[in-house]
Amino acid sequence: MMRGWQRNDGRKGIRNVVAVAYLVECAHHVARQIAGTDPEAAHVIGFPGCYPNDYAQRMMERLCTHPNVGAVLLVSLGCESFNRYRLEQVVRDSGRPVKVLTIQNDGGTRATIAAGREWVAAQASELATQPTVPMAVNELVVGTVCGGSDGTSGITGNPATGLAFDRLVADGATCIFEETGELIGCESIMEARAATPELAAELRASVEKAARYYATLGYGSFAPGNADGGLSTIEEKSLGAYMKSGQSQISGLIKPGDIPPHGGLYLMDVVPDGEVRFGFPNISDNAEIVEMMASGAHVTLFVTGRGSVVGSAISPVIKIAANPHMYRRLADDMDINAGRILDGGATLAEVGEEIYRKVLALASGEKSRSEDLGHQEFILTYKSFEPIGPACLPA
């Protein structure tokens, strides 16, 4: 039975966690100590930079008001440039309990940790008493990434995830796929699925922007392990990654932090606008997961061939093993063995159904493997974006 925590903005969370957010790397240790090592107690998120960045501010506002978050402790050093006043106001306006601790004013490391732990413990026991309400599939937001891809990802886990996405979209859920740098070579087949010709042009432009961006950096979104696993080129990796999007019509193009207006399938454009300024768009897989959470993702479907073990703060991650050999080595980390498609143990349709059922199970309270193992990876870095154009979200 799917259930959620009702938020004032109309959304529902499938978790009800206390977020402890550091507002500069200098406050990270204190935030980590406040949260402790118990994954039930609190989840640590944050932004390491000392220089202001509109994107990071917006991402932190979205993440601190994510439906899976019930209360927020902000941990500031005191002299960083992050606008803690505005973040605090946004969280307060959302109806959530919020508190700011400023290490320089609150007596340093030891005293701030003690004050933070006391506040978090009080909030956690309060959250534990909050009632849940029934939740439907069309209230779910589900993202997908692939990481540590190999030649199996594109023929097992990714197309199976695509089938799960088709099923979720048909049920009215919101599904997000992303990493336009891993759609290079897919422009033509993808634009044919756009809801309108104007959206088709925006989809193509987002991939062309990614190709230019990566060309400037000199590397594609392609790691050496991809090649060890049999992938030869970025466009081959792209076609495999593209399979995760399934066959549904594409309803819109969003950027990190944009909340999709209704159910359907959305492409997230994660490559910054303008000149190349802050380096690689997403320096590792968790940066992509964080961006989809900022757009409301309750759950992330993570397909891996080489065997990534990461999870995430705030929203659980479902690990889908594409490669049956890897699954045997890392079974404890994996939720779904899509490698069975290769050795005849299951069909694509069966694995797609299993992924769909797993999403519903997590929204009913079941824990994913990475969640149970205490994984709470989180990373947020500098970027800059222009707002999306009017053609990106057709009515």
């Binding site: 199996t152 990802s153 696993g229 030869s232 290769l342």
Partner: protein, 112 residues
């Protein structure tokens, strides 16, 4: 779609693909059947790797999932392993640790 005169470990993903994908590994020195012809595989290949289904000339598109995944950089015979040594992206070059390692070894030799 799968031809019976081809090793069952070779999977064809789309009708007009120019490569097969390995659904299981192949040991070094093994001989496999590709469209009725025996081909010796000189090195071990892991699952997910590609074997040429037809002959490619330099510049020919290599097709997988029914779509081009780059261009052949050398002649490729049917049954040959298709990878970064004979297939190049039409977008950005592929960075491998192999290349980084051989570059590091070259640098070492120059220094010593």
């Amino acid at each position: 779609m799968q031809r019976s005169d081809t090793d069952p470990r070779l999977m064809l993903l789309a009708a007009d693909d120019s490569v097969y994908v390995l659904r299981d590994q192949i040991a070094q020195g093994e001989s496999i059947t590709v469209q009725g012809r025996m081909v010796a595989i000189p090195q071990a290949l892991g699952l997910g790797h590609k074997i040429a289904r037809r002959a490619h000339r330099p510049g020919d598109k290599v097709v997988k999932y029914g779509a081009p995944i780059g261009s052949a950089s050398t002649d490729i015979a049917p049954g040959e392993h298709v990878h970064t040594h004979n297939l190049k992206s039409d977008y950005t070059a592929t960075h491998t640790l192999e290349a980084a390692r051989s570059q590091a070894e070259t640098d070492q030799e120059i220094q010593s």
